[in-house]
């Protein structure tokens, strides 16, 4: 196999041209994951009536469903039911004019929510009970105690895992190509369809991803050491 630097560069450019998709498909699900995931984690930890148990079952089951399967099913529902729904709302929309991005975002968000809720639940378990009690004892509500005392202590614990989640989510976006959204990986191998030199595209995509991941990691490390500075180190 031989390839030129130009070919490689073409792959990089092609990959980068799809970067906005990848970013959108990462940022939105991660944002949802962080917010809704926290709520789910709280509901489960406090065993809130009905919701605590329901969400535990839901997260367990949903985590079991392979992402590819969920995506396929959402897309099927989207394709077959869209016309009916649009008609119901008297929308003058046809399938030809709408973007499947919504389906991708929905599927990825739901997945992130479930997996981040577990990450957050784990971090929560690391904070000592005494910290809650101290918060309550000076008259903070549960929400205030969470926000001002517990969450700040969870962050340094959760950051390494959250970085796992974010980087994982970024790479996961390639799956949505099955429903027609081009991400960095698939973008980068486009030029290779002509030459069959797929490796070049893979390497280009890997470098782009790695670059982004390295930035995320550095930021996470920095935040971790700053937000965790209150912890005592052993010799």
């Amino acid at each position: 196999m031989s390839f030129t630097l130009e070919e490689f560069w073409q792959c990089v450019l092609s990959g980068l041209s799809c970067l906005p998709n990848t970013i959108l498909l990462t940022v939105v699900p991660v944002a949802f994951g962080a917010v809704v995931g926290t709520l789910i984690a709280i509901a489960r930890i406090y065993r809130i009536r009905f919701w605590g148990r329901f969400l535990a079952v839901f997260v367990t089951i949903y985590n079991g469903i392979p992402f590819l399967v969920a995506l396929l099913i959402y897309n099927l529902i989207f394709m077959t039911k869209f016309g009916d729904v649009a008609a119901f709302f008297h929308l003058n929309l046809s399938l030809a004019n709408v973007n499947v991005m919504g389906v991708g975002l929905f599927a990825l968000s739901l997945m992130e929510i479930c997996s981040m809720s577990e990450t957050i639940r784990g971090a929560f378990l690391s904070v000592g009970q005494g910290q809650f009690e101290a918060g309550y004892s000076i008259g903070l509500t549960r929400g205030q105690t969470m926000r001002r005392v517990i969450v700040p202590q969870m962050i340094p614990v959760a950051l390494p895992m959250l970085t796992n989640n974010v980087i994982g989510a970024m790479k996961n976006t390639s799956v949505v190509m099955t429903i027609g959204i081009m991400d960095v990986l698939n973008g980068a191998i486009q030029p290779c369809n002509v030459t069959y030199n797929y490796l070049v595209g893979y390497v280009a995509a890997a470098l782009i991803y790695w670059g982004i991941a390295a930035v995320l990691e550095a930021a996470s490390r920095k935040a971790e050491s700053r937000l965790g500075s209150y912890r005592r180190q052993t010799v």
Partner: protein
Amino acid sequence: MIEVKNARKSFGQNHVLKDVSLHVNDGDVVVILGPSGSGKTTLLRCINFLEKADGGTLTVGDKTVDFRKASKSDILEIRRKTAFVFQNYNLFQNKTALENVMEGLVTARKVPKETARTRAQEALEWVGLADKWDAYPSQLSGGQQQRVGIARAVVLDPEVILFDEPTSALDPELVGETLAVIRRVAKTGITMIVVTHEMAFAQEAANHVIFMDGGVVVEEGSPNEIFVNPKEERTKKFLSRILSSDMYEI
């Protein structure tokens, strides 16, 4: 005014509080004595709803609630009228000494930040920690942490303060100073319930002494009644042991 009626609490088969009642008037300083494991901490924790008692009622000021049936807002109301000094300090690990003291003022009481800072600094000065305001709990000595805990409670200016062995980590010098702080606070009409093992402290500061053992109030009365003329055998025995250890005093 704070009143506990028939408080009961078990951990599994272990009946830690068996029908405890007590009544404290505004501005009183009540000292609870008793051997280790007798339920003192548990009682304070139940009063602050950090532990859910199995039965009984609680009155703080004009608010009466059933321990078991208290609603969320009841609990919050009572917690805002009370403050707690923990036996193991329980400082907010992610906050500096100053932030620890400010937290309740700013977040729970909605005191403006600047005012809160000034008051927190004052409180830290009281307890002799003016120079440690920006240290995290993990950077403080045991006694320093305990003093931050005291400042954090006192600064809130609540109706009732619950002290759980507030001087256990303090050297005798500081015990004296803390005693002075508590006395000063008592004068402002704040009610205090203090669990302590310092007999001198108890005698000096208390209006009323309660002796607990095995989850019940064995005896209560004025310091004089308890220390000089204890009625119950158990109390006498407890005190005699202390006296014998006081023998080594200079």
